[in-house]
């Protein structure tokens, strides 16, 4: 696949340069946490409440990092594009929930079924649940990959996307197994605390376990990537025909990588079930989860395990922050709303007009001194991007106007939609301008 950067570009050795990419990435994560904590302080939350909240961020970010590691193994290393990450995640979460929860019979109040019950009630130990979740997701990944692996990348993408949607329908409707739209509740925690600060202690335990799992996975995946097995995966990604010609059964390698990635996603699902204490077929397993994981791997740098983890913490951080800020932004906006909107429209309009005029001037007066300045700008593609950016600003202003016109009360929810739009913009910009991500894949040379 030509989609990932090849390692042929040999730059001069940069041994003594600071690792700016890493510094920027960690500074961004730190900034997100600080902003979230500040929002909590402004809301007047207790220190322990804020810490619990940060712990929640860390535990979900760890889960997303594991999802990203799984996808990185499939796509970053092997070039297999999975569009159904949410499906394997769902299988893991539900398997875990069914395996470890105590029996929960159907509830009927006054002849009306309130809760349909669900399969399971086996009360198995947590570790067994995790193993079962990984097995279930891994086997599902292998089965779905069997018909699609020999075909082009698009077929695998479509088949996995369809698989994930179907699974969500089943989770919603197959009540006797999944508990229907309510889902499965009462999933036991790793340790049941009884004291008043149980939420904090729970968050701390989950973060502790999650960090250990993540560290272990990182070391394991680094080792596997450096092993001959990992080398074959990268060879499959770069040129499958050549790898076949060298006598490797590429189909088997692809199947192994895809199933292993699926198993990692199942592990993430199992951790998710334990972290939340319940699973339901709601937005937790929506296609948006899949797209978020893509962004994480692309931002972090596909083919780089550390990058996948950084991407997970960064992109989930944005989501977490948008939830933290949701309560404050409308208040702040209500005061400055008209001003912001007006500024966006005026500035956007002037910028659009001037950018268009600049481009026209540069085209029609080729001899002027101005032209030379413009040529500099044009060489860097600044003019065109300037026009696009200015028009975007202008459009954003009008979005706010329309918003006030048609849905005045919806500004709080709008933050979520704007976040998802932002993820979309990020996907497009990254895939066009920086497909290698923040942390590039390490260059490997023959020794």
């Amino acid at each position: 696949m030509a989609s990932t950067p090849s390692s042929e570009v040999a730059k001069q050795p940069a041994a003594h340069k600071l690792p700016w990419s890493e510094i920027i990435a960690f500074a961004a994560i730190a900034a997100i946490v600080v902003a979230g904590v500040l929002a909590g302080v402004l809301a007047g939350a207790s220190p322990q409440g804020i810490l619990t909240n940060v712990g929640f961020y860390a535990s979900i970010a760890i889960i997303f990092a594991i999802l990203a590691l799984g996808f990185n193994l499939q796509w970053g290393y092997t070039g297999l594009f999975n569009a159904g990450i949410a499906g394997f995640y769902l299988i893991g979460a539900y398997t875990m929930a069914i395996a470890i929860t105590a029996p929960s019979p159907p509830i009927v109040i006054g002849g009306i079924p309130v809760y349909p019950g669900h399969l399971g009630g086996y009360s198995l130990p947590l570790a067994v649940g995790v193993v079962l979740a990984m097995l279930a997701s891994g086997i599902a990944a292998a089965v779905i990959a069997l018909p699609a692996l020999r075909l082009r990348a698009d077929y695998l993408a479509i088949a996995t996307l369809a698989f994930a949607s179907i699974l969500q329908i089943f989770a919603n409707n197959l009540q006797s197994v999944t508990g229907g739209s309510i889902g499965i509740t009462g999933i036991p925690k790793p340790v049941e605390f009884q004291s008043a600060d149980a939420p904090f202690l729970n968050a701390a335990t989950i973060v502790g376990i999650g960090s250990l799992v993540l560290l272990f996975l990182l070391l394991l995946l680094q080792f596997m990537a450096e092993s001959p097995w990992g080398r074959v995966l990268r060879a499959v990604r770069e040129d499958e025909e050549a790898t076949m010609a060298l006598g490797k059964n590429t189909f088997n390698y692809k199947l192994q990588a895809f199933a292993l990635g699926g198993a990692l996603m199942g592990l993430a699902g199992a951790l998710f079930a334990v972290t939340l204490g319940y699973v339901s077929p709601s937005s937790s397993f929506a296609p948006a989860v899949t797209f978020s994981v893509w962004v994480m791997v692309i931002v972090g740098g596909s083919g780089n395990n550390r990058g996948a983890i950084v991407g997970g913490f960064l992109i989930y951080g944005l989501e977490w922050l948008s939830v933290q800020l949701k309560d404050y932004v409308p208040i702040a906006l209500a005061a400055g709303f008209v001003t912001i909107r007006g500024l966006l429209i005026v500035v956007g309009f002037i910028a659009s007009i001037s950018a268009v005029v600049l481009v026209l001037l540069s085209r029609h007066r080729p001899t002027s001194a101005w032209h030379r300045v413009m040529q500099r700008i044009q060489e860097r593609g600044l003019a065109r991007n300037g026009v696009i950016g200015a028009i975007a600003l202008y459009g954003l202003g009008w979005v706010f106007v329309l918003l006030e016109q048609y849905a005045p009360g919806a500004i709080g929810d709008t933050i979520f939609y704007i976040r998802l739009m932002f993820i979309g913009v990020l996907l497009i910009l990254l895939i066009i301008y920086r497909p290698e991500g923040i942390l590039r894949e390490q260059k490997r040379v023959l020794r």
Binding site: W75, P147, L151, A153, A159, Y406, G424, I428
Partner: protein, 348 residues
């Protein structure tokens, strides 16, 4: 003749109700076919699966809604939306997808998901998440025979528009120079360039056809049910299934695939309702699973004929892992019993 006989036979065996489901299937098919032609034309020429296609449909539906709520009739709304979507298609190519040419199938897929997220959530932010319906006069079903009716707008109109779009796509592809150039480019880009076809122009034409068909399909979909932000993304898989079943990149395959997928989805409903009965397996919400039927067909086609039902078999098509194992086992077993094992692998 055969069709009439099949219809009469079905009605005789299962009752007139099966024809009602078949009618529903035909209506769904005509929407899916319009969308599938648009998706597959773009795939043939640009070589990537456009995951934003469902949301282009939603965008078209909302544009028509916006215009029809502001005084224009829905017909004019549909025409304006058709034209606007054509421009949106060209803009998408110029601003985003032209930069990703020659980087394999995955980067454009990622970018198209980005476009999908922007359109879907932009619509949510601007128009809200409530379901809307088009301001069309409320009408009763037209009764053909007792027990078999069709709605004049969401039924007859959809069928007529669907058929006219199929015919116009056929005329465009078969009888115009542009259509011939499009088919040539889809067949072999390098060869088309070498024979002097302006492939850039063909690419833009493909975007225009693709996204304007999306607009009309979206409006038809909105007429049938309601207009909501996820309407397009929800049917995307159905359209992908139609495209793949018919053979990816082939407009005529898309027509066949759309028919198969739409009919099978709707006609599976009585079967799924039958499964709901306690003496069968007591399935809950059986008809919710109807969307899984196209997916099952998709998987079967991927296993047995990945180049599609109507598609041409590639010269060096590798057989799927499954088939290879199955034929080997079968051939081995048959070899022991039958005296002519040579036939087992010979069929094309």
């Amino acid at each position: 003749m055969i069709a009439v006989a099949v219809v009469a036979g079905l009605a005789f065996v299962f009752g007139i109700i099966i024809l009602q489901y078949a009618m529903g299937g035909l209506v769904v098919s005509s929407i899916v076919i319009v969308a599938a032609i648009g998706l597959t034309v773009l795939y043939g020429i640009r070589g990537f699966a456009n995951f934003a296609y469902g949301d282009l449909m939603t965008l078209g539906a909302y544009l028509a809604l916006l215009l029809s709520l502001n005084g224009l009739s829905l017909v004019w709304g549909a025409i304006v939306s058709f034209l606007v979507l054509a421009i949106v298609g060209i803009l998408l190519e110029v601003v985003i997808f032209a930069r990703l040419e020659g980087r394999g199938p995955v980067p454009p897929i990622v970018a198209s998901v980005g476009v999908a997220l922007i359109i879907q959530n932009g619509i949510r932010a601007v128009a809200g998440t409530t379901e809307r319906i088009y301001p069309v006069p409320a009408t009763e079903n037209v009764v053909i025979v007792p027990g078999l009716g069709i709605h004049p707008i969401s039924g007859i109109l959809t069928l007529v528009v669907g058929i006219s779009f199929v015919l116009s796509a056929h005329v465009l592809l078969k009888y115009t120079n542009l259509g011939k150039a499009m088919r040539a480019t889809a067949d072999n880009l390098e060869l088309a360039k070498a024979t002097g076809i302006d492939t850039k122009r063909v690419t833009y034409a493909a975007w225009v056809v693709s996204s304007s068909f999306a607009s009309t399909a979206g409006i038809l979909l909105g007429l049938g049910t309601a207009v909501k932000p996820t309407m397009g993304f929800d049917v995307l898989l159905l359209i992908f299934a139609a495209v793949i079943v018919g053979g990816i990149g082939s407009p005529y395959g898309a027509m066949l695939g759309g028919l198969m997928v739409g009919l099978s989805q709707e006609m599976s409903v009585p079967f799924l309702v039958w499964l709901e009965r306690p003496d069968v397996i007591g399935l809950q919400f059986g008809s919710a699973y109807k969307v899984a039927i196209p997916f099952i067909i998709l998987i079967i086609v991927l296993i047995f004929r990945p180049w599609g039902i109507a598609g041409r078999r590639p010269a060096f098509a590798r057989r799927s892992y499954f088939i290879e194992r199955i034929t080997r086992t079968l051939a081995g077993e048959r070899g022991a019993i039958d005296t002519s094992p040579g036939e087992a692998n010979g069929g094309r």
